[in-house]
Amino acid sequence: MAMTNSEEQISENTYHIILNDLTVGYDGVPLIRDMQIGIRKGEIVSLIGPNGSGKSTVLKSLVRQLPPVAGTICLSGKDLIKMPEAALAKHMAVVLTDRVRAELMTCYDIVATGRYPYTGRFGKLTPEDEEKVEEAIRLVHAEEIGKRNFNAISDGQKQRVLLARAIAQEPEILILDEPTSYLDMRYKLELLTILKRLSRERSMTVIMSLHEIDLAQRISDKILCIREEHTFAYGTPDEIFRGDILRELYGLDSAFIDPCFRDYLPAGPGSG
């Protein structure tokens, strides 16, 4: 299935981010080919797909850790690959899965690094910067752990602090790689609520990979299904959860229906 927006034409004015025939992969070897996608400002886009399907590869290309194999990524009409680092940092913030080696840093310090693109030569925080940092900490409800050493808190708490760090960077685009990984159910929902708020109140465009397809359905404006090579789909949750797309994506036997998705997948054999 070719992956395109439902709209016929992808124009620079309507979309915040455009993936133009984007092919991504490692060392010039294509993994996912010819993505043609437009993402509107303030949209929440979730990447779903089996483990190892290439969700992270797509995200890495978006944050410029991997050069695209072919095609371009346009950000507000500009070529993302050609943007200077410092300029891009004001547009885009990330929450990565990499372990953060934060030596002698409090959670506050970690969040404060989000102000990096805005501070002066020596990175000194102005009172406004301090206010932005504290606002981000409050937004993720991390006030209590703010003064604690980052290495002394739980993985779930770290995830929230890293989200606060990204928020303090005041980006237009937030990119998150498996942000729900270490969280229990309550914090997963809390995290998604925060992301929804950012998208609605600050028109932040959110692009993330998610393991939980039920959560993806609940929060996303658009879902990007990724499977190696050509098998993928892009559309609203309704479009994606209708028909056989999910079953095909995860290679599920039609007889196997997870109770979780009873409502969304056509039940019983032969009904698709």
């Binding site: 940092a89 030596e103 002698l104 840093m105 020596f122």
Partner: protein
Amino acid sequence: MAGSSAETERKQTGFHQENVRRRARYVLVFLILIAALAAITVLNITIGNVSISGKDILRILFLRSGDQTEVNIIWLIRLPRVTMAFLLGGALALAGFLLQTFFENPIAGPFVLGISSGAKMVVAVVMILMLDHMQTVSSWTLVAAAFAGALLITAFILMISRRVHHMASLLVSGIMVGYICSAVSEFVITFAEDSDIVNLHGWSQGSFSGMSWANVGTAAVIVLAATAAAFCLSKPISAFQMGEKYAQSMGVNIRTFRIALILLSSVLAAAVTAFAGPISFVGIAVPILIKKALGTARPLVVIPGTFLGGAVFCMACDLIARTAFAPTELNISTVTAVFGAPVVILTMISRQKSFRD
């Protein structure tokens, strides 16, 4: 008003007060370092094989008058020596901090990674080759040779670090490289002319003795320029401490930054080796102690703190080296190892957890 409610919330969370408290701690640590620096400088000038009274020293320092031998001891021996210990001690500790940042390894340093030994090897070869043809070798030539040696070994260690991801393995590789370089140096020195050996032997073991003002001048230019440059990199270093990928996402050009870090740490380690030979453990121990004292790894305070700390540490060790068994002088590394190595061992024990991964 949203502003005033934000203001009250700020007071409640107390992050601002916390920042003020931390700044007070930085000031306190720096005051202690400066006081220690002053004290150790005075001790270094007043204590020595020839005892000179305090009154005479003051007269010699400020009026340059008095017994000519005593004037020479103060002005041509003790003062250049203490100045050199200040400059090179600071340089060595700072090189350690930069390497620890670069390799994301808390116990990296120019000595354990073999960089000092590499610099020493090239210096020894250049010295012997040039002394055969000319009477003297300029200090700039020695620094350039040391820099080439430092870069050579750093490049080699970098190559290894691509393949070896375990912290401890990297250090073991560095120590082995250091042994190879030392072996080559010893080999070259063994076959050098007799007159050179006297000179080379003291230097190759590490020592601050016999410093001329010309050497001090050269070292000052190199070390102070590199230190200022490192200080100007405080901001990207702080981003890099979060990890390379986060640093990139914050707008750091990683390639340029890495090259700058390598060049600066090599220049600093090279300057030390060219003038004083290889000195162990200052590069590892001082940054660890300073970070502990400051309670932060923020480069903006850690860089000047590390420089001052390294200076004080080396000046104190040099004082012990030349006075403990006077008139016999100890190698500076003998003393720095006694105080520095335990710090490294304690760090390894306390970091056991992070060391495992």
